[in-house]
């Protein structure tokens, strides 16, 4: 094992993991609202918010699919040590997936859950460089009173790809992370173009 790559993770493992979990919960309960994770640790290649989500959500029962851009010895060693999560090459087996912006064009293969157990779907953790630099889109659905304008910078093809795979209650939940911030996009949110 590559022990020389290991780095400290959460300063306070219990409270910081609870903060990470709480932020993920709030992000999915109020889609499009930016949540903050001020005390997240650093790891080369992962934004603090992404790493905090990994540390809070992953464990030995959650196989993780790593996009090639995140598949470095450093990230592998630290996830294996601190989360103990198995890594999988097969998208179908993954309960969580770690993706970058360039991986959003093809969401094929991930588990959408089934009609009886839609909760068994794969949750996508998407690391972006920014959460507010994109084109404004109007989000609607549960957790949003009327509509909310969100500027997540993702390619247009992602929205088509997502819509194509939507078969409620089956679907994919997404958590976008950048820096110390994150935004949730549950499968129930509906996206409309902004007519300006």
């Amino acid at each position: 094992m590559s022990t020389h790559l290991l780095q400290p993770a959460f300063v306070d493992p219990v409270l910081d993991a609870q903060r990470g979990f709480r932020a993920a919960l709030k992000a999915l309960a109020e889609p499009g609202l930016i949540q903050h994770l001020p005390s997240a640790p650093r790891l080369d290649g992962l934004a603090p918010a992404t790493y905090a989500l990994c540390l809070a959500l992953l464990d030995v029962d959650t196989p993780l699919w790593l996009a090639p851009s995140f598949d470095t010895p450093l990230i592998r060693a630290n996830l294996a040590f601190h989360c103990g999560c198995p890594l999988t090459d097969k998208r179908e087996d993954a309960v969580f997936a770690l993706l970058g912006e360039q991986d959003l064009l093809d969401l094929g293969g991930f588990d959408h859950g089934n009609d009886r157990y839609p909760d068994q779907s794969c949750t996508l953790l998407v690391q972006l460089t920014d959460l507010e630099a994109g084109r404004g889109l109007l989000w609607r659905g549960p957790g949003i009173q009327a509509q909310r304008r969100v500027h997540v910078p993702v390619p247009q093809a992602f929205w088509h790809e997502r819509q194509r795979r939507e078969a409620f209650p089956r679907g994919l939940d997404v958590l976008f992370a950048a820096g110390h911030h994150l935004i949730g996009l549950p499968r129930s949110s509906r996206i409309a173009e902004e007519h300006a």
Binding site: T3, Q7, P8, P13, F81
Partner: protein, 145 residues
């Protein structure tokens, strides 16, 4: 059972008493190091086999303290020990890291051998005490005649 040298010293460090490790605390902490996994207390399930070879069953849970440290030169030391002693866990992890260095012999002779001897003595004393209470049952008359 064949133990590697590292398995041996990790076991000796885990079974040591905190009072035996504390005299070495200054020497053990005389390096730059960081806690990769700060000492933390948890539970582990102990499983057993009836008679040593039956089907495994859950015996119960016990508290375990573990710690991982890394010295400035990259060596990592691990410790897992029974109980809830965080200071002991950190010292044991530091000792494991030192023992993996280029000159483990000083640590082996100073620390591990002494600890192992003390543990062997404690064990022998306990076995002697226990042996004195051993009762052999035998039948004088079975009353069959």
């Amino acid at each position: 059972m064949n133990l590697s040298p590292r398995q041996h010293w990790i076991g000796v460090l885990a079974r040591a008493q905190l009072s035996e490790l504390q005299p070495h605390e200054a020497a053990l902490k005389d390096v730059e190091y960081q806690n990769i996994r700060a000492p933390e207390i948890g539970m582990t399930l102990v499983r057993g086999r009836m008679g040593g070879n039956g089907a495994p069953f859950n015996l119960g849970e016990m508290s375990v303290t573990r710690c991982v440290v890394r010295l400035a030169d990259g060596r990592t030391g691990y410790s897992y020990l029974a109980g809830r002693d965080k200071v002991h866990a950190e010292l044991a992890a530091l000792a494991d890291a030192h023992l993996q260095g280029a000159h483990p012999s000083i640590w082996l002779s100073d620390l591990i051998t002494a600890l192992a001897n003390a543990q062997a003595q404690r064990r022998a004393r306990k076995e002697a005490d226990t042996a004195a209470t051993k009762v052999e049952f035998f039948t004088l008359v079975r009353g069959e005649n």
